[in-house]
């Protein structure tokens, strides 16, 4: 494999501006290991693990949720550009008011009885995925004074190997809150653009939903870690 330094794009464990990292980031250096044959394999999700309806977050309730309807499309690839097939992707997000249906979310914003903000799907043979949802709202958090998280969608991606496991967040282009978000800015500058979706109108639904594209690249399952 060519030189792809994950250090160029992944955030460090310790990023003091994001306060929770101060007590949870390991202080010792990590031990660099080649993935074991076990980690080069991973859980296999049966086809019927997901229902097609679970990729549409807007049909869960009795009527349509509030907010700006959107379609999120993308492909899951490995570092060699190969499609990652039948990878489970889980998505979750706040509603259009920036509220999660969680008891520990104390943001004074309304829940939407027609929006649970949770979905899942398996990528197809080309590594593609498509999710229908509403644009999540920004919300305040207590990390720092006047802190607000930019609108984001959480994505959990399994790939085909335990070593490929990735949880990330997708952000929206042109959001002024990106500049003040320590979680987004924990990513080295060279990687930040990779977390921002592109407007992709043609994959939206004419007159109904805006389209966004967010491709996801996982490490190659057979890639040799640098330095090993």
């Amino acid at each position: 494999m060519a030189e792809i330094s994950v250090a160029d794009v992944h955030p460090p464990y310790l990023y003091p501006d994001y306060k929770s990292t101060r007590l949870r980031a390991p202080a010792q250096p990590l031990v660099r290991m080649a993935p074991s044959p076990l980690e080069a394999a991973g859980p296999a999700f049966p086809k019927h693990f997901v229902k097609a309806s679970e990729a549409d977050l807007t049909t869960w309730g009795k009527s349509a949720p509030l907010g700006e309807k959107m379609v999120l499309v993308g492909r899951v690839l490995d570092e060699g550009g190969r499609p990652v097939r039948r990878s489970l992707i889980e998505v979750w997000q706040a509603n259009a008011s920036g509220k999660y249906p969680h008891p520990v979310d104390d943001h004074d914003a309304p829940l939407d009885p027609n929006f649970l903000g949770k979905g899942q799907l398996l990528t197809d043979d080309e590594g593609r995925y498509r999710v229908v949802t509403v644009k999540p709202g920004a919300y305040p958090w207590q990390n720092h004074a006047f802190g607000w998280r930019p609108a984001h969608i959480h994505l959990s991606v399994f790939g085909n190997a335990f070593a490929q496991r990735l949880i990330t967040q997708m952000f929206f282009p042109g959001d002024p809150l990106l500049a003040i978000d320590p979680i987004f800015n924990s990513v080295p500058e060279a990687g930040r653009q990779l977390l921002i979706a592109d407007l992709d109108l043609e994959h939206g639904v004419e007159g109904v939903a805006l389209g966004y594209r967010f491709d996801i690249v996982l490490r190659g399952p057979r890639a040799t870690p640098i330095g090993v």
Binding site: P26, Y100, A163, G191, V217
Partner: protein
């Protein structure tokens, strides 16, 4: 070549989205003596971490990597969160050792990924279900060397109940577990 997508924290709000009913009960196509891997997760001040997500992936009792699944669940994979005491529990089988491509032997172990608020990337490690003297030839055990550090990855069998393996995880500071960069 495309650049890898950067990791971001799982955040505090994932329990309703990522946890499965009986996610801590690991399924296998065959049989094996059931055991429980249990312990607590602590931060750098020694306080329990009440909002961590633990995922486990392992070989079966014969050392085979499970393919496929049952019902709507993949074999060999466990997923739980910690509770208010920082405690977790995975009901599974003791995996057998397995061989690497170069003929090296991997001691009985479970691969673990930990996600949490405050973790911008998953913490990967391997927990051993065998005593220190039986894991010395394992690739990770050899890479660590120092037995004191290696002990942070050994699940100790409960002397009063052989079906229980205890493994506490300290993310930072005194007794910090060894984490690996895959």
């Amino acid at each position: 070549m495309p650049k890898p997508t950067p990791s971001q924290t799982v955040g505090p709000f994932f329990a309703r989205e990522l946890l499965w009913q009986d996610g801590g009960k690991v399924l296998f196509p065959g049989h094996g003596d059931r055991i429980t891997l249990t312990g607590r997760v602590f931060d750098g001040t020694g306080a329990p971490i009440f909002d961590a997500l633990l995922e486990t992936w392992q070989a079966d009792a014969a050392g085979k990597f499970p393919a496929g699944g049952e019902g709507a669940r993949p074999y060999g994979y466990g997923r739980v969160s910690t509770d208010t005491d920082g405690a977790y529990a995975i009901e599974t089988v003791v995996p057998s050792s397995f061989k690497g491509a170069g003929g090296e032997t991997y001691a009985p172990q479970i691969s673990v990924a930990i996600f949490a608020r405050g973790l911008l990337k998953a913490l990967h490690t391997r927990v051993f279900l065998a005593p220190l003297e039986e894991i010395k030839d394992d690739p990770l055990a050899r890479a660590i060397g120092d037995p004191e550090r290696l002990r942070t990855l050994i699940a100790a069998r409960d002397p009063g109940n052989p079906e229980i393996y205890r493994w506490d995880v300290r993310l930072r500071g005194v007794g910090e577990a060894v984490f690996i960069e895959l």
